[in-house]
Amino acid sequence: MLTKLLNSDRAFDVCNKIFVWLLIIIVAYPLVYILSASISDPYYVNSGEMILLPKGITFEGFQRVFQSSEIWIGYRNTIFYTVLGTLINLAVTLPCAYALASDQLAGKKVIMALLVFTMFFDGGLIPTYLLVRDLGLINTIWSQVLPSAASMWNIIVTMTFFKMNIPKGLEEAAEIDGASHLRIFFQIVLPLSKPIIAVMALFYGVAHWNQYFGALIYLQDRALFPLQLFLREILVRQQITAELMRQSGMVEAIREHARIADIIKYAVMIVSSLPVLMIYPFLQRYFVKGVLIGSLKE
């Protein structure tokens, strides 16, 4: 009986491991493929001869991408929006979460209800667009950072963290000593909250880095475009801008056009995703922590 069970357990282990390996292959293959394709001759990529490892290694794609001034503009703008946007997010989220976590806040239930309601119902696309337009934010950097200045979900996560990690006695002791809420927040709570600040900076930061829709509807000036909008033109609409073409020195044929399109396609995917994919494994525990705190019910 016991040995039979052990045998079935062992069989289970083997099957389970195979299943996980399959998962890993399915998830990793497309990522490895774009990495390989980005440094392969597009001829081998398009003919299907390059299946896993790079073939006919060339760095022309990356060269063209890095020579493109628009990609650099996009990069610069994206970094700028990400940094500014994340700072604003933190400046709104952290104090709000602290206040909501405090027992001293009169009317907390009403305030919470009003804020949580926005998670399930809002004005929708058009009224929000009209508001941003009426505020005169169209075609300004503010259109990229103010409409997404806070997320209620993240505020709740931060609030839960404060409730769990800031000892109740600490706040009381500080108050008896005559410390104000502002001092408690800045001098006691914030220094104790580095993990949640990291989690929030990452959540908000990645969202800013990857977002394109706000830029699509609020920006017209190409000098303000974030990287994702240029990517959209190259990858989705498959428009190679004149600027990327001209560098070849010969705007001669559709063929050359197609070749360039193929060669920069994968390089551009790598260039835009790599910063996030590179730092993520080192910060994985913070991301996971954020999800986990979010799943706790008060």
């Binding site: 357990d9 996980v20 890993i24 998830v27 926005t118 696309l125 009224p127 989705v236 995917m269």
Partner: protein, 313 residues
């Protein structure tokens, strides 16, 4: 602190705001102010703007001053030839995605059974990674991989004598491409929450099940799944609440004139008719219709879920 509790109002008047407490703690409201301003301006003011759904909106008249026309926009939408197509597409895509809901649970159950901690960690790191890829790059990958002439999928299919299939231009394949690429991106990330719930399962339950002679599979079925059931229910409710809206940004990128009959959903139609064609009032009405359905679904699902003992409120 002592002060506040000393003056706390008698239970009857509990609902009244304690102004003394507010005054003592004014700095808390100062800390709250940026967030309140943000939500008032960017979340509540647009709700005020929702009234143009019932109006003939002209920019010169403003939101308040535009002429009231009642439900005309809604009637126009319900009677339009595309109404049922939009509803059908929106519902189908979401029900399809819902059908794949168990995948993340299975992934979590499977990762949880791995004894080798290092391998488990590597598996997690790899499966979470696609979550961090932007929508634009993901759709770019889909388009590149599925290209009938140059895509790797078609060239692999060609080797076994299938194809080439023009995935992106075939309306009948659009929903599958959308839903399965979503699954690829989020199957690992979606498992985190269940993994956490599994970590909280009482080991004694497993011990006693072992004594009773339960196999691994039986223990998963009779111990693990019931233990994470409340989490599953809550995730389902949240899913239902966004039933009609998820995936809008990705669908928008995946659309092309040839697959539109299958890829136009309510939210993308709002974008199209509102922002691209300037029909602000009409599109707001469609958006409102969509939001209200979402809210109603959320409330209904939460009601149903209460019977199982797990609910949002």
């Amino acid at each position: 602190m002592l002060d506040a509790s000393a003056v706390s109002a008698p239970p009857r008047k509990k609902r009244r705001i304690n102004w003394r407490k507010v005054k003592i703690n004014w700095q808390l409201y100062l800390l709250l102010a940026p967030a309140l301003a943000y939500f008032a301006i960017f979340k509540y003011y647009p709700m005020y703007g929702l009234q143009i759904a019932f109006k003939y909106f002209r920019a010169v008249d403003g939101i308040w001053g535009s002429r009231w026309i009642g439900f005309e926009h809604f009637e126009r939408f319900f009677n339009s030839y595309y109404f049922w197509d939009l509803i059908k597409n929106t519902l189908f895509i979401n029900l399809y995605a819902l059908a794949l809901f168990p995948i993340s649970i299975i992934v979590a159950l499977s990762l949880n059974e791995l004894r080798d901690g290092k391998f488990k960690k590597i598996a997690q790191t790899i499966t979470y990674a696609p979550h961090f890829i932007s929508t634009v790059v993901l759709v770019g990958m889909i388009i590149a991989f599925l290209d009938p002439a140059t895509g790797i999928i078609n060239s692999l299919l060609g080797r076994i004598g299938i194809g080439p299939i023009s995935f992106m231009t075939r309306p009948d394949l659009f929903k599958s491409v959308y839903v399965w690429s979503n699954e690829w991106q989020n199957l690992g990330w979606g498992a985190i929450i269940y993994l956490a719930a599994l970590a909280g399962v009482d080991p004694q339950l497993h011990e006693s099940a072992k004594v009773d002679g339960a196999s691994r599979l039986q223990r998963i079925w009779h111990v693990n799944i019931p233990s994470i059931f409340p989490t599953i229910v809550i995730m389902l409710i949240l899913r239902a609440g966004s039933m009609m809206s998820v995936g809008f940004e990705k669908i928008l990128l995946m659309q092309n004139p040839l697959n539109l009959s299958s890829s136009q959903v309510i939210s993308t139609y709002v974008y199209d008719s509102g922002l691209l064609h300037g029909q602000y009032d009409y599109s707001t009405a469609i958006g409102l219709f969509n939001s209200v359905i979402n809210l109603v679904m959320l409330v209904i699902c939460n009601r149903l879920a209460r019977r199982t003992g797990a609910s949002l409120w």
